[in-house]
Every structure is written in C-alpha cells, then in structure tokens.
C-alpha cells in the first residue's frame, strides 16, 4: 500500500540518521525534558551530519535532497518520542521562507548557517491576543531610511530560546488593509532590544524551548525584509501547505509508534489468567485504531506525493491536518485506556506522547480554523 518511493540514497540517509538519534539524542532526552530545552550543540551536530535543511542545494552546503528527506527526519524524530529538537520546524517551516523570499544576499549570508546548525531559526507570528487571526496582529514594523524599527510581542514561539534568527511577521501601522499590512523580516537574536522570555511551562513538548519574544524599538537593516513590503500575508499563505503537511506526516508516525508500543505491551501484560492482548475488546480497539492509522498513512503519502509534484492540495492538506492531529490525540487517549495503570506513569512512553501530541490540533492553525478554511473553499 505504499505510494512514496524511497531511493537507496534516501535509505542510507535514514540509516545514518537512526544511528545519530540512537547515539546523540535518545540518551539525552530525559535531561533535556528537565532542562526545558536541548543544547545548541546537538543542533550543530545535526548540521554537521547534514540532517538540517536537507532539501537545500550544495551551494548552501545542503545535500540537494527532496521532501522525502524531510519525511525521514520527521519519522526518526517521532521515533525518539520527544519534541525538543524540532528540526522540522527549522528545516521545513522556517528556512523555506528565506529560501523562497530572501534576496540573494540574505540567502548567501544565512542559508549556509542554517544548514550547518550554526543558526537555529524560529517563526514569530502568533501574538498573545491574535492566535489564528492574523488581522488582529499588533506588532509593528516601521521602515525608516535603511532601517526598520520593530515593536511588539510574540508568543508560543517554538525554538524561541535557542533561536539565532527569527522570521518575524509585523504590520505597517499606516496600512489599514490587514491583508496588505504584514511584512516578513529576518531578525537576528543578537539584535539589541530583542528579548527572549523563559521557556514556557507546558503540558508537553517539555524539552522544546517554546517562549515569548519581545521587541522594543528593535532596529534591523531594511534589507532584512523578505520579499515585497506588505506581501507577508501572501507569503504566509503560500507556505501553509508545507507547514500543515509536516504536521500530518508527524501525526501519522506518532500514531503508528503508539500502536506498535501498545500492542507489544499488551502482548506481555498478564491480567489474571490471560494476557491483555487476548481481550476481544482490546483487540477490536487496536484494529479500529490500526485501520484509521493505515488510512491516514495512505492519505498522508498521497498528500506528500502531490506536494512534491507542486500541486495545490491545500484543502486536502487542511483536511489531513485536522483529521490526523485529532486522530493522534484519540489514539493516545485510547491506548492509555488499554494500557491502564501503567499509562498513569511517565515511565510509560505513551504518557509523554499523549502530552506531546495534544498541541498538534492547536498549533499551525487550530483544527477549528482548518474546518473554517475547508468550509469556505468547498461550501461557497
């Protein structure tokens, strides 16, 4: 039932990545979860091993791969069952803005650093009072001569503490049309008057340095704007397909991993005279979850395949985003029910997956927003 075809070089890449994860990531996760972030050194090692931005061409130091490399990274990160080292946010969500909309100068300056892991990136879009509602954004960017002055605050920013470079969405306060007011800027974290908050206390993504960012008369060079002035909204829209697709891919792998673990556990777990796996109710529950995961997998693969052919599948990807992130939540809830007492301890990996995946139906546009979008495009 496979749709995606992985080449020998993809599989080699995956093997190297697996080894890397087993050696450099898995043994450190518990520490990172307590420290609420991953060390920058592991990003650097990811870069050294060519696991960051795999689709960038050789001129920037990349391996000139394709989106299947991204799928592999997402898959192997899901296997580690943590989300601190959120490489896909950097590689597949943030850096593509620079690649697609940056000037030649910006690309030559920053992309090699993104590939090498010297610079970790973040996208600064969400604000305390404007979640999915871009029109309500209040961060301002006023262009003055060769500079741009930024004021405002952003929240829920993944890689917020570690980031060296942020793609920032801000509004021209003079432009009244909200769809023409937003521009995107590259802001280095060492810029004066750019302050980062502490990592936020969250239900999950414990090792993820999600934070608030503050800009107080923060001044950056004008050439750090990505694309045309006022084109921010369009650029954000154009990148949504890949951003949501990343969520779909990740959600599907988390579903598969949870099922694999839970089946293994129930095959070993005694409940009185019989093994837990021999309960018909448990078996049906597993079959139902496996069926939904299988259908989601086929759908995900088809989406990836269409995306790689540059097709517009934004509606279908939005469907996938809401459906699979809801599925991963339901799968975690139901696996925990089957596991029982042991699932109430953090020792049980599904406890963490439950906490970590819960955010997926909230970020990158809540599932309610997904449904609104789909409705607008299909019912009008």
């Amino acid at each position: 039932m496979e749709i995606l075809k992985f080449s020998k070089s993809h599989l080699d890449f995956q093997e190297r990545l697996k080894t890397f994860m087993d050696r450099e990531v898995v043994p450190n996760i518990e520490t990172w979860e307590k420290e609420k972030k991953v060390p920058k050194s592991v990003w650097k090692k990811m870069g050294e091993n060519k696991f960051l931005c795999p689709s960038l061409p050789a001129e920037y130091g990349g391996i000139g791969g394709d989106f299947l490399h991204s799928v592999i990274v997402i898959k192997e990160l899901a296997r580690t069952n943590h989300n601190g080292l959120a490489a896909f946010i950097h590689s597949d969500i943030v850096v593509p803005y620079i690649e697609s909309y940056g000037s030649v100068d910006l690309k030559q300056k920053y992309l090699p650093l993104c590939v090498s892991g010297d610079m970790i990136t973040a996208v600064a879009m969400t604000e305390p009072d404007a979640g999915s509602d871009l029109a309500a954004m209040t961060t301002t960017a006023v262009e003055k001569g060769d500079h741009v002055v930024i004021n405002g605050a952003k929240t829920f920013i993944s890689n917020g503490v570690n980031c060296d470079l942020a793609v920032l969405a801000a509004k021209d306060p003079k432009e009244k049309n909200p769809h023409k007011a937003v521009s995107l800027y590259l802001v280095e974290s060492k810029t004066p008057r750019f302050k980062k908050g502490e990592p936020l206390e969250k239900m999950g993504w414990k090792s993820q340095d999600t934070a608030e960012l503050f800009f107080n008369d923060c001044m950056i060079p004008k050439q750090n704007r990505l694309g045309k002035k006022g084109a921010g909204f369009k650029m954000l829209m154009a990148k949504l397909q890949q951003e949501r697709l990343v969520c779909v891919v990740s959600a599907v792998f988390f579903c598969e991993n949870m099922l694999e673990w839970t089946i293994g556990y129930l095959k070993e777990k005694k409940r009185g005279k019989k093994l837990a796996i021999h309960s018909q109710a448990a078996r049906f529950a597993l079959v139902e979850m496996a069926t939904q995961a299988k259908m989601a997998r086929v759908f995900m693969e088809k989406l990836v395949s269409e995306h790689m052919k540059k097709k517009d599948v934004i509606i279908e990807t939005s469907m996938g985003k809401y459906y699979t992130t809801d599925l991963v939540k339901r799968t975690s809830l139901r696996c925990l029910e089957l596991i029982g007492d042991y699932g109430s301890l953090e020792e049980c990996p599904i406890a963490r997956t439950f906490r970590d995946t819960r955010v997926m139906s909230i970020f990158a546009g809540t599932n309610e927003i997904m449904k609104e979008i789909i409705a607008r495009f299909t019912l009008s």
Partner: protein, 385 residues
C-alpha cells in the same frame, strides 16, 4: 422520586465550595503538581472542619454528601481537591466492618486528619476482579503473618495504615478465605516502593508494596475471614462513586474556565463563545456533565440506602465512574482546545485538570473492567454451548 437537594445537602455543598474557594491557591497547586507533593496543611485544615470523610460521620453512610463535596473541591482545583478527598481512602471499610477498637484507634485518627489511610488490594498481573489474590495471612495464636505483593497502592508512602486484602490460612495451610487486614505502616516487613513521575493526580502518591513476614495482631482483621472479597467490592463501589464525583468536579471546573475564557477572548472580531460551534460544544459538555452527575448521585443514593443490607446495585457505581470519567476527559480535553495555545500552558490550569481526569480514568477500577461489571449483571449467565 425527587430531584431537588435537601436543605442540609445544599449547606454542605456551600461549605465545601467556600472552603475550596478560600483555601485553594493557584500557585500552590501548580507547585505541588510540579514537585509531586501532597497538600498536607490543607488536608489537616479540611479535616478539622469535618470535610474529610464527612460521609462517615453520621448514623449511616451519606455518600451523597461526599459526592457534593468532591464536586465542589475538584471544580475549584482538580489536584488539590482529589488529593484531599483521597486522604481517608478505605476508611469506609473500618466504618462499615471494623470493630469498636479499630474504629477508635484508626478511623478517628483518619477523620481527624492525623493519619492517611488506604487500601491495598490489587496484585501484579492479577485479575481486575480480585478473584486470584495470592497475599496470605497465616494465623497463629493471636497473630497474623502477612506475605505478598500489592501494586499501585494509592497514598503509598504517606498512609499510616493499609487495609490489605489477603487470604487467611491456618498454620496447616487450610482455609485461604479472603479477608481484610489492617496493617500499620510502621510494622516491620512492610516495604514501600514509591512510583514517582505520574502523568496526573501528581499530589496523590502511589507505590508498590511488599509484605515480608509482617506480623499484625488478629484484632486487626476488618470483618471476619470470608468477607474480604465482598467488603473489597463494597469499598470499590464507594470508591467508584467518589472518583466519579471527583472527575465530575474537574469537568465542571474546566467548563467554568473555558466558558470564562471564550466569553472574553475574541477571534475575527467576535467572542469565541459567540461562534455556533463553540456554543454547541458547551451545550454538549453541559448535557454530558448533567447526565453523568445524575448517574453518580443515583449510585451514591443507592449505596447510602441499600449497601448496609447488601441490596445495592453494584452496576450503578461502575456506570457512574465509567461515564463520569469519559465525560471529564472529554470536557477537559475540549477545554484545552477552547483555550487554544493557552490551554496547553500550565498557567491556565486546564491541562492539569485534563491530566488529572485522564489519570483517574485509566487507573483501576477502570474501563473494560467497569463495563464487564455492568454486562455481567445485565446479560446474566448464558447456558453453555
């Protein structure tokens, strides 16, 4: 048939609400949750006011009152509420079957907030219906010697006394009748292995236990040998109702928080609570809470009126917990979603309510086992093929 609360019930409800609102502190809760600590001071204060185990205070069980308190406590704070309410876990066994001396020595101290109590029934790999208990108590003269293992004992490290389900044997190995025996923590041979890092209800400690030649006086038997399984099941029915009430409180608390949030917060120039889909989510939550609550109150009412005569319907308690837990997980999950990014942040509390409710839902007695209790009575015996 009368669906209105009595005056005294309304008063208890009010007292519980006022206590919780006055005493439960948001930062304290966040901190205890993080550190996995029990709210000792609050527990003692609640006990002093008679709000701990208040269903064991009168002339008969009044589990309905306990349900009303649990709801109020857990609505104000899921973790503080549930941990305080679990402090006298198992004291019902002493109340229903303990002799005067056990009551005086232990029950009173539990109700006064001097020690925590608990039950230790389940064993590693055991049947959820407790039919295959292997912990033994060998009787010699006036002493019992306990050996065996128990798992997931609530209040693990903290409890001063444990009510242990075991099989009482004569020295020659005959007998093996299920019995409840009270074991003090301080007794030699009681090993407690705490299980830390819990997903939810982190203020309630849990531990595995081992009894190695633990000697207790014969007078520590709670009820006669042979009554252990019935007593254990009676207690589990009471616990199911208590837990149902706790999770319903959590659901109510989450509902109040998400309602307040969505009434204030706007998206696309409209309060989130004004969107039809949001409105219907609230309608749905309110309906489910109301139904599960009626079921829980009915189960409590039935136990209060009929358990002492052995005439209660044990399926009601199982139904109540199953439905209340399902409802609470749904409502707290929906509340996280309604708060969006904030819902995922510890500061906004609902994620903790969600973890607490989910933890209660999945720890025994739970899920498939509760359904089996209901099915067993409904379907009855089927002639063999």
């Amino acid at each position: 048939m009368d669906f209105d609360l009595k005056g005294s019930q309304k008063e208890i409800q009010k007292a519980a609400r006022e206590f919780a609102k006055g005493e439960f502190d948001k930062d304290l809760a966040a901190n205890l949750d993080k550190e996995e600590n029990f709210p000792e001071a609050l527990w003692k204060k609640a006990a002093r006011l008679g709000l701990v185990g208040l269903h064991l205070d009168g002339a008969g069980l009044s589990l309905v009152d306990q349900v009303l308190v649990a709801e109020q406590f857990c609505a104000v704070d899921s973790s503080l509420g549930s941990s305080i309410l679990s402090a006298c876990r198992g004291a019902e066994c002493l109340y229903l079957s303990g002799d005067a001396s056990l009551k005086e020595t232990f029950l009173e101290r539990v109700l006064e907030g001097q020690i925590l109590s608990t039950c230790a029934f389940a064993e590693p790999g055991g049947d959820p219906d407790l039919s295959d208990i292997t912990t033994t108590a060998i009787q010699r003269d006036k002493m019992l010697t306990l050996n065996g293992k128990k798992e997931y004992v609530v209040n693990g490290v903290l409890a001063g006394c444990f009510i242990v389900l075991c099989r009482v044997l004569s020295e020659d190995g005959s007998g093996a009748e299920p019995c409840l025996v009270l074991v003090e923590k301080k007794t030699k041979g009681v090993l407690i292995k705490p299980k830390t890092e819990k997903l939810g209800c982190r203020m309630i400690p849990v531990a595995d236990m081992e009894f190695c030649d633990v000697a207790v006086p014969l007078s520590n038997m709670v009820g006669k040998p042979g009554t252990g399984l019935v007593q254990a099941k009676n207690f589990l029915s009471i616990e199911q109702v208590s837990k149902a009430a706790m999770v319903l409180g959590m659901a109510l608390g989450a509902l109040q928080r998400s309602l307040a949030h969505t009434r204030l917060r706007k998206q696309f120039n409209q309060a989130i609570a004004a969107f039809e889909v949001t409105r219907h989510k609230f309608a749905d939550m309110a309906m489910r809470i109301r139904m599960a609550r009626l079921l829980t109150l009915e189960a409590a009412f039935d136990i209060d009126r009929n358990m002492i005569r052995g005439k209660h319907d044990e399926t009601l308690a199982a139904m109540a917990l199953f439905q209340a837990a399902k409802t609470a997980v749904h409502v707290t999950d929906e509340s996280v979603q309604l708060l969006g990014g904030y819902g995922y942040m510890a500061e906004y509390e609902v994620e903790r309510f969600y973890r607490d409710a989910k933890s209660i839902e999945i720890t025994q007695p739970a899920g498939l086992h509760l359904k089996e209790i209901v099915a067993k009575k409904l379907i009855g015996k089927i002639r063999a093929a």
